[in-house]
Symmetry: C2
Subunit: 224 residues, 2 copies
C-alpha cells in the first residue's frame, strides 16, 4: 500500500520485480503516476494487481487469491505534495493535487485493534486532528526536527514544508499538534538522516521521549 | 557509466539521489531513456552531469571538476536488447535499437593496463570476437548457464536470449565463443540467481573453472 508516489515510497517496487505475486493498493492518483511511467512495467501485471484505494470509505484488504487478510483500511487525503520528481519546474504550482498523499487507518476486522499510519503529512488541519483524537496508536511523519534542517546541515535547500512534511519541533510542529489529541502511543517514522532524534544521546531525542513519543527503529514491533 | 538502460542497470541511480555529485556517462540512446522518465529527475542536474558517451572513439573520463581521472573508455555497440520495460507489447519488434547496449574497454591513460566490461551481451559476432582477442582481462555477461534456465526453474518464462544475454554453456554459449580468443583472464559477472555457477559445489561451477573462467564474487578485486 502506497501512501504517495514520491521516490522513497515507490522505488522499492523495482526490487519487488522478481515475479513475486502481490496486490498493490494506492489511490487512483498514485496508480496513474505508476501507470504513466514505463519503468514500473517491471512489475508483471499477471502477478501484481494494482488496486485503486478509494478514500473516505472502508476497504477490505485481500490477498492475490481474493481472500480477506482480516484487515480493513480507511484511506483519507491529508496535506502533502505531488512527488518532487513530477514537479513542473516551469510552473508556480508546487502544491498538492488531491490524493497525492493519504493517511490510512488499519483495522483488524476480526475484532482486534487499529492504528493510523501517516508517513508524510504537511500540516495538521483541524479535521485531521479530530480524526486522530483518542487513537490507540499513530505512526507519524518524523522526517525532520526543524523546517530548514537540510539547508542548515548543508545537504539540501528544500525545507521540510517544501517536501510535504511537518517538522517535529516548534509551534507548528508535530509534537505541539498532538499535544491535546490524547493519542495513547505516538511513534515517529520516515525519519530523515539529518534528524537529530536518530541520535539517542541528543537533546532532541530526550525531548521527543519526554513529550511521550517513540522514535521508530529497524525491527520495531508494535501490538494493538 | 551505464552500459544499457535495463532496470538492473538504472535502478541504482535512485539511491544516488542524496545530493551526491558525479558524472553519468551513457550513450545518447540510454540518456534519452533517462531523460524521458521523470523519476530520474531525483538526480539534481546541478550535481549530476549526464555526459553522452560516443561509440567507436576513445573518451577521456573526467570528474565533476572536469579533471582527468586517468582513465579512457572505448565504447562499442554490441548485440543487446531494448530495456524490457520499454518494449511495446503491441509491436513485434522486440529487438535492439543501436546503442541500447554497449561494451566498454577501460584503459589506464597513465600507462597501466586495460580491460573489457560487457555485463550484457546477446551474441558474439565475428567482429566482437576480433576486438576481444588477446585481451588481458574481460568481465563478461554470465547471466545464465543455459538459455531456458528461468522457465526450467519455474521463476520466469523469458529465455536468456530473449533478455539480451548469451548463456554460458552450449554450442552458442560464452565458454565456446571465447575458446579461441586467447583472453588471459576471463571473469563472469552479472550472474542471475538461477545460475548454478553461483554454487561452488556444483558441476557447472567446476566446469566453468576448468574452462579457465573466474566466477565473480562480492568484493572481488582485479589488478591490470
Amino acid at each position: 500500500m502506497l501512501t504517495n508516489a514520491d521516490v522513497d515510497h515507490v522505488a522499492g517496487l523495482l526490487t519487488l520485480r522478481e515475479r513475486q505475486a502481490f496486490n498493490l493498493y494506492a489511490t487512483a492518483r498514485v496508480l496513474q503516476v505508476l501507470e504513466s511511467n514505463t519503468i514500473f512495467n517491471v512489475l508483471d501485471s499477471r502477478l501484481v494487481e494494482r488496486i485503486s484505494l478509494p478514500t473516505d470509505v472502508r476497504t477490505g484488504i485481500v490477498d492475490t487469491n481474493g481472500h480477506s487478510l482480516g484487515l480493513e483500511v480507511d484511506a483519507f487525503p491529508i496535506p502533502g505534495k505531488i512527488a518532487l520528481y513530477l514537479e513542473d519546474p516551469h510552473s508556480e504550482n508546487m502544491g498538492s493535487v488531491d490524493q497525492d498523499t493519504i493517511g490510512i487507518q488499519v483495522t483488524d476486522s476480526t475484532g482486534g485493534g487499529r492504528f493510523f499510519y501517516l508517513p508524510g503529512c504537511a500540516s495538521m488541519p483541524k479535521e485531521l486532528g479530530e480524526r486522530l483524537k483518542n487513537a490507540e496508536l499513530v505512526l507519524m511523519d518524523g522526517t525532520t526536527w526543524i523546517d530548514d534542517e537540510m539547508s542548515q546541515q548543508g545537504v539540501g535547500e528544500k525545507t521540510a514544508r517544501r517536501m510535504g512534511h511537518m517538522a517535529i519541533s516548534g509551534d507548528s510542529g508535530t509534537i505541539r499538534a498532538f499535544k491535546d489529541l490524547n493519542v495513547a502511543r505516538k511513534v515517529f517514522v520516515h525519519i530523515n538522516n539529518t534528524n537529530p532524534v536518530l541520535n539517542e544521546g541528543s537533546d532532541e531525542y530526550k525531548a521527543t521521549l519526554k513529550a511521550g513519543w517513540t522514535v521508530a527503529t529497524d525491527g520495531l514491533e508494535l501490538t494493538v
